[in-house]
């Protein structure tokens, strides 16, 4: 088949997956939060309210999309795209099975981190262009969080890279054939904290802190531009969960089952694991209060960064000792 056609098809598959994920996750969020809060969540529209988000999206598509007169027009239009595209690009490197991956990048992990770090740029654009004080404060918070947490998150992922000996996400998954890397508990915990902040989840949802900043950087956005911002937020959550599954929970693998047996249902296994992760994120969202911005920065600089570096050294030491012992034996 034509190489270009394959590229386009793969890209479309990633796009579709992202949009469908967004719709499903918003529905899931409302259901999960509802159940956590003694409510039912959407019930009336479609069976168990399943069509609710579909209606929401259609409505957002047909809403008027006013441009406030005070905004910086160019940036205002560009910002949702700049937020949306990186989170779409991150899907490219995720291995859904041994063969189901849009682009099998040798530096996949690094690629995901690199594109995800573009998102705050879009958020800052949105906040600045909106010419709204709430938006600006929300955007500044997002950038502050990004600067603080990008480094610890990467360093927290490095022990896994050392254990797998590769930055390729597919290799990392294959290296967890029998033992999931979650055995490296401190690395997992550090990665989760940093990831929660990175993806703007409660208790670190400071960029759009509803009780403080109205709707944060998205305050001035309406209709589908808001829809894009909303979708990409959920897509980020998905990517964070998928990355956690890939790095620590064996990706599409099932422990002690040969890869060939898992292969036909590998994408299903992967999605299932990811959605279990998302469920935990939503449960956190429905329960915990939000930290203050200075507390978040303090946590980042004074705890997470030194601890993650220290744990990286310790992991290296343990691995070195382990291999030395193995050789000497």
């Amino acid at each position: 088949m034509n190489t270009w056609l394959i590229v386009v098809l793969r890209f479309l598959a990633a796009l579709t997956l992202m949009l469908v994920n967004g719709v499903v996750m918003i529905y899931m969020l409302r259901k999960v939060l509802g159940r956590l809060h003694l409510r039912l969540g959407p019930m009336d529209n479609g069976p168990w309210g399943m069509l609710q988000t579909v209606y929401d999206v259609i409505k957002l598509l047909t809403k008027e999309d006013p441009t406030p007169s005070a905004v910086d027009r160019g940036l205002f239009f560009l910002a949702p795209a700049v937020v949306f595209v990186p989170s779409l690009m991150a899907y490219i490197a995720l291995p859904f099975s041994r063969t189901w991956v849009v682009a099998d990048l040798p530096l996949g992990l690094l690629f995901v981190f690199a594109v995800m770090s573009l998102i705050p740029l879009g958020i800052l654009m949105a906040g600045w262009a909106s010419n709204n004080k709430w938006s600006l404060i929300g955007a500044m918070r997002a950038v502050g969080a990004q600067v603080t947490y990008e480094v610890p998150m990467l360093i927290a992922a490095l022990p896994v890279v050392m254990m797998a000996g590769s930055l390729n996400l597919g290799d990392i998954v294959r290296a967890q054939h029998n033992v999931w890397f979650v055995v490296n508990v401190p690395a997992f915990v550090l990665f989760c904290i940093a990831g929660l902040i990175e993806s703007g989840q409660t208790p670190f949802d400071l960029a759009e802190a509803e009780s403080e900043l109205v709707a944060g950087f998205a305050t001035e956005y309406s209709a589908m531009k808001f829809g894009l911002l909303f979708l990409s937020e959920f897509s980020n959550t998905f990517i964070f969960s998928a990355l956690t599954v890939t790095l620590f929970f064996g990706g599409w693998q099932v422990p002690f089952v040969p890869a060939d047996v898992v292969q036909p249902i590998a994408p299903v296994v992967f999605m299932l694991k990811t959605y279990i992760g998302i469920f935990f994120l939503m449960a956190i969202r429905g329960t915990l209060p939000r930290v203050r911005v200075d507390q978040m920065l303090e946590l980042g600089w004074k705890f997470l960064l030194p601890t993650s570096i220290a744990w990286l050294l310790i992991t290296g030491l343990i691995m070195k000792i382990g291999s030395t012992l193995a050789v000497s034996r």
Partner: protein, 578 residues
């Protein structure tokens, strides 16, 4: 009510050179009448002398037809005494501010001046509080409310489009209510506007200098509200921020000003409750009760014992309902959605009970002068017992989910600390005061209804921060449940209302009655001229005093702190704006 010794008051005031005539008014206590010029000196003397009247209960005006009586209602906690100072001001006169003596006067003075058309002298922020420019001094007797014809035909009201088109932000730039020829120099210890030196409350009203560093920075003025998800109604906070840090704050209120005090002057006594219910809409029973107590004082009627028990029982249920409505959103302010929805399942049960007994979910008009509207129902008893059982479990869950959360503790402990002195100076009452270590509860110290027969504790904390206020309110809910159980177990048989005429015409006089509402001391001051409607009804809004106190603590915190702090003061805008 314990009263100060007349001769001591007279000698103290005369030593300070204040000409005074003192009388003892039934139902009100000792009333000192001084001239407008010496009102400030009189208050200063009463505060600083051995009498130690250092707590401003209330400050309001009465249009007597000849002059405006400015009423200072003072209390001494150390001696447990109360006194009223009245000073007759001319129409269009000048009110000398006492905010530097008693900072609690800050907002009430502004309100008094705009609603009676006085000028304000020596006030740091002499702007209108409740109304916009061009509004008449509504509480003056010459201002008439809309007639029946106007009200029936709504088309008579015209909306001026220009006025609507004006940006909402322009409201802040109000004309100050200072007399044009007001002396600018310092006079008799009164500081002229614009030159005051902040002493106690300063930071809230101080504007930080622009460009604090070498780098030229600009402060952002953030208008939080009146439509904002976390301001608990239509409160507007103008925050001046330097990055995330708040350097100046001003609370702007009046978005819900609907003239409860003015309308009460045209309502018969047992229908004023409908207005008061909508004032403090979270705890209607308490406002009705304050009105009923004041009216009963004037009428010299005693309500029967069964009615007293019902008043206490419903009042305490209402207190739980109100605290619940505060506790959930307190979590919501901090970002936790859970507590909000968990507390509302209990509130539904409570509203079922209240509906069963009073007939309405929120607006009861149940407590009437002389007793209550209708008798207790047997179905309600079962519901209350069920609720008490359920609530005992739920409150521990709610306690754990929010108070036990490390993030919530880290955000609230040490935030917004009121010292004992500051709390008293700003006129804080209720749980806010008790969280600062002052053991004062009207239910215990000035018992009304059947509270002297109840056994309950007063939760107290010495810390005075947001966490302490939350903890005190949680404990109050437990105590309230305890009182309800005592009421339902010991509900006496008998009449539920005393014999009172259908149209109440209290004799000429004045009466003040206060109750411990969920927000603090809720007082009703009635001036009767012998007719079937009050001549003047003043409603002491505890949340107004809490609001102006909270406002001063905002600078120095972050935006997130501002939200949590204002939430912790338990402000209800219906009551503040009236």
């Amino acid at each position: 009510m314990p009263q100060p010794d007349l001769t001591v008051v007279r000698s103290a005031l005369e030593r300070a050179g204040v000409a005074v005539s003192i009388e003892e008014v039934a139902c009100l206590g000792v009333v000192c009448r001084v001239s407008a010029d010496s009102a400030r000196a009189a208050v200063a003397t009463l505060r600083d002398s051995d009498l130690a009247f250092d707590f401003l209960i209330d400050l309001f005006g009465i249009d007597t037809g000849e002059a405006i009586d400015v009423v200072y209602h003072l209390r001494s906690f150390s001696r447990d005494e109360e006194i009223v100072v009245k000073a007759a001001h001319d129409y269009d006169g000048v009110l000398a501010s006492i905010w530097d003596l008693l900072p609690a006067a800050l907002m009430p003075e502004r309100e008094l001046c705009e609603l009676f058309g006085l000028s304000l002298l020596g006030h740091p922020n002499p702007k209108r509080l409740l109304t916009t420019d061009g509004c008449a001094p509504y509480l003056r007797k010459f201002v008439e409310i809309r007639s029946d014809e106007e009200v029936r035909d709504r088309s008579t009201q015209h909306v001026n489009p220009k006025r609507l088109a004006r940006a909402a932000g322009s409201i802040a730039a109000e004309e100050p209510m200072v007399a044009p020829d007001a002396p600018s120099a310092t006079q008799d210890g009164i500081v002229a506007p614009g030159t005051f030196q902040p002493t106690l409350l300063p930071a809230g009203l101080r504007r930080a200098p622009a460009g604090v560093d070498q780098v030229t920075t600009e402060h952002l003025v953030l208008s939080m509200g009146p439509q904002h998800p976390s301001t608990h109604g239509v409160l507007r906070l103008n925050l001046e921020i330097d990055g995330e840090e708040v350097v100046g704050a001003e609370a702007i209120i009046g978005y819900l000003h609907r003239g409860i005090e003015k309308l009460a002057e045209s309502r018969r006594y047992h229908t004023i409750g409908t207005l008061l219910d909508r004032g403090d809409y979270l705890a209607g029973i308490h406002s009705e009760l304050a009105l009923a107590l004041a009216t009963e004082k004037l009428l010299e009627v005693e309500s029967p014992r069964r009615a007293n028990y019902l008043r206490v029982m419903l009042g305490e249920l209402n207190r739980i309902a109100s605290h619940i409505t505060w506790y959930g959103p307190a979590g919501l302010d901090a970002g936790a959605m859970g507590p909000f929805l968990y507390t509302f399942r209990d509130r539904e049960l409570l509203l079922d009970i209240l509906e069963d007994v009073t007939g309405a979910r929120m607006m009861f008009n149940y407590v009437r002068p002389g007793g209550v509207l209708r008798d207790f129902t047997t179905t309600a008893e079962a519901k209350i017992r069920h609720f008490l059982d359920v609530f005992a479990v739920h409150i521990e869950e709610n306690d754990e989910i929010l108070m036990g959360n490390e993030i919530f503790q880290a955000r609230t402990q040490g935030l917004g600390v009121f010292s004992r002195e500051a709390a008293l100076g700003f006129g804080l009452t209720g749980a806010n005061l008790r969280a600062s270590g002052v053991s004062w509860d009207i239910r215990r110290d000035r018992p009304y209804a059947a509270y002297n027969e109840m056994d309950f504790d007063i939760p107290l904390s010495e810390v005075g921060d947001v966490y302490a206020r939350t903890a005190v309110r949680l404990d109050e809910m437990r105590q309230a449940a305890r009182i309800v159980r005592q009421c339902i177990d010991g509900l006496p048989e008998g009449e539920f209302t005393a014999k009172v005429p259908k149209v109440l015409r209290p004799p000429v006089g004045e009466a003040y009655a206060a109750v411990e509402s969920p927000r603090g001391e809720l007082g009703v001051h009635i001036v009767s001229d012998g007719s079937d409607t009050p001549y003047r009804m003043r409603y002491r809004p505890p949340a107004l005093y809490a609001l102006q106190a909270g406002e001063t603590l905002l600078p120095g915190g972050l935006i997130a702190d501002a939200v949590v702090l204002m939430g912790s003061m338990d402000v209800v805008l219906g009551e503040i704006d009236r």
